[in-house]
């Protein structure tokens, strides 16, 4: 649907992306020439079993890892050529991350965990507003150790969106959660995608989640094996596993 968009409008354009890394004595080919795009406002689910290369792809898109070969451009800028400092700035101002294990700072409250990002961002949201968006207005002063897993993950989402990022990258956001709380987290992500129009990439090995995506990218053994469009997106509420 967005294939005609201006190249600069494309959030990510990935061409021939290859990643080889050494694990001890063994060479692992994590990505073997991946091509893909992410368009503004789009919600993409990257689906694949473990070892398919989806995390590696997400890490490279997020500026956490470097490619062995190929190109990734973010809004027309070549990420594969960026240096350490530029990557840090890129993560700081443009990307919102959500991780499987939340990665909250244990010594900071929910509100402060969001503030830790808004303090260094350019035109961030109010941290309270970000938490309201994920339905945590009443838990602002709780420390991570006082929050449930689902609540912690929603804090992480609030933290990710609070900087008004161009793109939201989520690595198995429900991986550590049960179905019920997982759905609440997905609702929060869906809500953000709808209301703020933030391009969102979610990686998961849970095929059920694919229903809520605009597009589903299937990865296997370092290749993209299939890309499918969902004509009708499922509401997260209708997803169970």
């Amino acid at each position: 649907m967005n294939t005609m968009a201006n190249r600069d409008d494309i959030v990510f354009q990935v061409r021939g992306l290859t990643k080889v890394y050494r694990m001890g004595e063994v060479e692992v080919h994590a990505l073997r020439g991946v091509d893909m795009e992410l368009y503004p406002g789009e919600l993409v689910v990257l689906l694949g079993p473990s070892g398919s290369g989806k995390s590696t792809l997400l890490n490279i898109l997020g500026g956490l890892d470097t490619a062995s070969d190929g190109h990734v451009s973010y809004r027309g800028k070549d990420l594969t050529r960026a240096n350490e400092k530029e990557l840090t700035e890129y993560r700081r101002y443009h990307v919102g991350f959500v991780f499987q294990f939340y990665n909250l700072i244990p010594s900071l409250t929910a509100l402060e965990n969001v503030a830790v990002v808004t303090e260094i961002a350019v035109s961030p949201m109010d941290p309270g507003d970000a938490l309201a968006l994920v339905g945590l207005s009443t838990r602002l002063d709780h420390f991570p150790s006082q929050l449930s897993g689902g609540e912690q993950q929603r804090v992480a989402i609030a933290r990710a969106i609070s900087k008004n990022p161009s793109v939201l990258l989520c690595d198995e956001p429900t991986g550590a959660l049960d179905s019920e709380t997982g759905v609440m987290v997905l609702e929060a992500l869906d809500n953000v995608n709808r209301t703020l129009g933030t391009a969102t990439a979610i990686i998961t090995h849970n095929a059920d989640i694919a229903g809520m995506a605009d597009r589903v990218v299937h990865l296997s053994n370092g290749h993209i094996t299939d890309v499918s469009q969902n004509e009708v997106k499922k509401s997260p509420r209708d997803i169970t596993w």
Binding site: S55, N59, G62, L64, D65, K85, T88, E89, Y90, R91, R92, Y93, V95, F97, F99, Q100, F101, N103, L104, I105, P106, S107, L108, T109, E112, A115, V116, V117, E119, I120, F143, P144, S145, R159, D171, A176
Partner: protein, 787 residues
């Protein structure tokens, strides 16, 4: 090798940075302990052997003149072993090419050959030829200070007559291991020398044919020395004896003994600090290892390893780290002990230095260190050993945090999130934070104690020489002389002003406490001598009564208004009672001050003086030195400026050595504590810091969080260290204080800032090492793991 042992070695290897830092602290502790104790032992052993081999005497007496026939009566005193009579005198020397006043102590050598007591160790040349009246053997320190060679000669004024003396030998004597003028504050090898001369020649010069003025003797092993002294005093009293004294009161022996006492104190204080710090560091590190290895411990137990085996496994880690420090520390301690021995040997002259490290010293250093290391870690090791496997398999409960105290203050608004992280982490583990700060503070305190010594010395010099002594020269007369001699001095061209003084040897007595010293009589309204009170305010000498060095309050248990019994040791030796009218602040020696006329009255003498304080025209200095040498009445001259200069020079080398050691010690502690704390913090916090990096925080920003915490603790530690250091200085000052000298607790701002600088530099160095690791954090890995 057993698998568990292999794990041990690998754990140790992966811990190498921290293990090294701890080893460094252990090593420094062991090294300083070995250094102090072995130096003390070595000097003690050397001294014992030297004393024994060269028959150092047990009792000493100086008197005016007694017939040689008295010798046999002295020998008859029960307990007396060997008696030797001598002739000794202080003379003015005229050294070619050295214009300043030099005083020589002449001691006779028996005409029939070698001295029976206080034998000479001939370093170069030979003993004097009894038939020659111009040959001398000189002390080694004096020879090297003036670069004298065998065959050189110099002039001496012996009993008013000029004589050229030829050097035939260079020697050492157990009597003058420390060679120092009795009324000086530090040894001055250039301006004071001991000369040995044939008895016959000396007797003739001093009209002592068939007589003596100096006795040394040894007593048999089980004799009562005090009894011998009493009998000796009774016997020699009417020959002008100044009172017999035992080896304990002999200047050279006395000062050396005091030095040994200081070494012993140092050996107690500093290693204790190190051992405590290393035990603390081991505790922190082992606790952390145990918590990161929870799952491994659980697995080991699940496989059937017993609590004991697991406990021993972690205890072995402690032992290994400590043992490395003990071994290297022992080696380093031996090396430093020898170096320190040589520092002492430059002042205390022995023919040889026997270095000795007793096995029990090395053994107890190792044992004490190991025991305290194990004691410090027993809790952590026990925790590891006693954990039920199932519990150990579960992850540790999440860390609980709460808002810090500072956030309840208006300051809270200014705290950024990273700053909150820092403050909350410090408050979450208050005990560990406190001990970390305490550890760093000990580094600061250690450094302070070394600087403090230099400040104290400077202060002592100022009080002793600069504030209270205003003369350029102090001239002593051969014997108490009429006050008119002072007017004669004033008539000498180049002398601007002169003021007489009277010195009388006395024994103070209050109840059963006694102390042998002198009373100095100062002119009323003296311009050149100031009596300083505790606040260093100058006071005039009161017309009546006596003023005492303040330390007498303790030594004689006396206070203002009390009557002091004064046994005069000169002339007819009268005993008087004098009211104590005040105390004077003084750090070196113990003396009494009186108005000169009042002292003359007490002595029932006319206007007598023992010498004069003189100010001179600086341009005439050299000419005056010469004139004073030639004045028969002048026994010697002391130049105040030289005395100050020499005091610093004598101290300089030892000070430099101790400052170096202190820097090493405090640097090691500061590095050990800061580096370890940072590594622990890094290991506990790396996940959190990586998460922040992922969120777009720069390396600098996350460094702030990690290093900021230690930075804050370091900053808190510095004032704490100042306070602890001051306390330690007070303790050391108390411990070292004696009648020879007292140490004032004076710490200059420069010393505080040096201590703080050493700590900060060590902290910054440790941060740089840790910062490198922070830059290499693996961002991807932390996202995939649960803590």
């Amino acid at each position: 090798m057993k698998a568990l042992n292999r794990k041990l070695l690998r754990d140790l290897w992966s811990l190498k940075g921290q293990a090294f830092a701890i080893t460094l602290v252990v090593m420094t502790g062991v090294a300083t302990f070995i250094m102090f104790i072995s130096t003390m032992d070595s000097l003690n052993l050397t001294r014992q052997k030297y004393y024994r081999d060269f028959n150092f005497s047990d009792v000493f007496v100086n008197l005016k003149r007694a017939p040689e026939s008295l010798k046999s009566r002295i020998a008859e005193i029960p307990g007396v072993n060997v008696v030797e009579t001598r002739v000794s005198a202080e003379v003015k020397l005229d050294i070619p090419g050295f214009s300043e006043p030099v005083i020589g102590k002449l001691v006779s050598i028996p005409d029939n050959g070698k001295p029976l007591l206080n034998g000479l160790y001939i370093r170069k040349g030979r003993l004097v030829d009894p038939a020659k009246d111009n040959e001398v053997v000189i002390s080694e320190t004096f020879a090297s200070a003036h670069d004298f060679r065998i065959g050189d000669s110099f002039g001496a004024i012996i009993n008013g007559r000029w004589k050229t003396l030829r050097i035939v030998g260079v020697a050492l004597s157990p009597e003058f291991v420390l060679q120092m003028r009795p009324d000086a504050v530090s040894p001055d090898f250039k301006r004071y020398g001991v000369l040995w001369m044939a008895r016959d020649a000396l007797s003739q010069a001093y009209d002592m044919d068939g007589a003596f003025n100096d006795v040394v003797l040894t007593v048999s092993p089980h004799a009562d020395v005090d009894e011998v002294i009493t009998r000796l005093d009774n016997l020699l009293d009417r020959y002008g004896s100044l009172g017999a004294y035992a080896r304990e009161d002999q200047l050279s022996h006395r000062i050396m003994t005091d030095e040994f006492r200081q070494l012993k104190r140092s050996a107690e204080i500093f290693p204790t600090i190190f051992i405590a710090v290393s035990a603390f560091l081991l505790n922190v590190v082992i606790s952390r290892i145990v918590s990161t290895q929870r799952e491994q411990i659980a697995a080991l137990k699940a496989f059937g390893y017993s609590n004991f085996q697991v406990g021993v496994h972690y205890a072995q880690l402690v032992i290994l780290i400590t043992l490395v420090g003990v071994v290297i520390g022992t080696g380093l301690g031996i090396w430093m002990g020898k170096a320190l021995g040589n520092v002492y040997m430059s002042v205390y002259r022995f023919p040889f230095l026997i270095y000795r490290l007793r096995f029990i010293v090395a053994g107890s250093a190792a044992l004490i260190t190991l025991a305290s290391a194990l004691l410090g870690t027993i809790h952590a090791v026990w925790k590891a050993a006693s954990q039920p496997p199932a519990e150990a398999l579960r992850p540790e409960p999440p860390a609980r945090y709460r808002k810090s105290l500072i956030e309840n203050t208006p300051l809270a608004r200014f705290l950024t999130q990273p700053t909150k992280i820092i403050v909350r982490n410090i408050e979450r583990k208050p005990l560990r934070s406190f001990f970390t700060a305490l550890g760093i503070a000990t580094a600061c305190a250690t450094m302070l104690t070394s600087g403090f010594f230099q400040d104290a010395v400077k202060y002592i010099v100022n009080v002793q020489f600069v504030f209270s002594q205003k003369e350029d020269l102090s001239v002593s007369f051969t014997e108490p002389t009429s006050g008119r001699a002072v007017y004669d001095l004033m008539g000498v061209r180049g002398v601007r002003y002169a003021e007489g003084y009277r010195v009388v040897p006395v024994r103070f007595r209050n109840g059963n406490r006694t102390y042998k010293t002198v009373i100095t009589g100062i002119e009323s309204g003296s311009r050149l001598r100031h009596i300083l009170d505790v606040n260093l305010k100058a006071h005039p000498v009161p017309a009546e009564g006596i003023i005492l060095t303040d330390y007498f309050r303790e030594v004689l248990d006396i206070k203002t208004g009390d009557m002091l019994t004064v046994e005069i040791l000169e002339g007819s030796k009268p005993i008087r009672r004098v009211p104590v009218v005040g105390f004077v602040q003084q750090y070196i020696g113990l003396v009494g001050y009186m108005d000169r006329k009042s002292l003359n009255r007490m002595m029932q003498e006319g206007s007598a003086v023992s010498g004069a304080y003189v100010t001179v025209d600086p341009m005439s200095m050299d000419r005056l030195y010469r004139e004073f040498i030639e004045m028969p009445r002048v026994a010697g001259t002391v130049v105040r400026r030289d005395e100050v200069k020499n005091f610093y020079e004598t101290q300089a080398r030892a000070m430099l050595f101790f400052t170096f050691i202190a820097m090493l010690m405090s640097g090691a502690i500061a590095f050990g504590v800061v580096y370890n704390s940072m590594r622990i913090a890094l290991s506990e916090r790396s996940r959190e810091l990586s998460s922040l990096r992922v969120l777009g925080y720069t390396r600098g920003e996350i460094s702030y969080i990690l290093l900021g915490e230690l930075g804050l603790l370091t900053l808190a530690a510095i004032p704490l260290g100042f306070a602890m250091g001051k306390g330690l200085c007070i303790y050391i000052a108390r411990a070292l204080g004696s009648d020879l000298f007292r140490v004032p607790v004076v710490i200059e701002p420069g010393t505080y800032s040096l201590a703080a600088t050493v700590v900060l530099v060590s902290a910054v160095f440790s941060s740089l090492v840790v910062r490198r690791r922070l830059d290499r954090l693996n961002l991807v890995e932390v996202l995939k793991t649960k803590e």
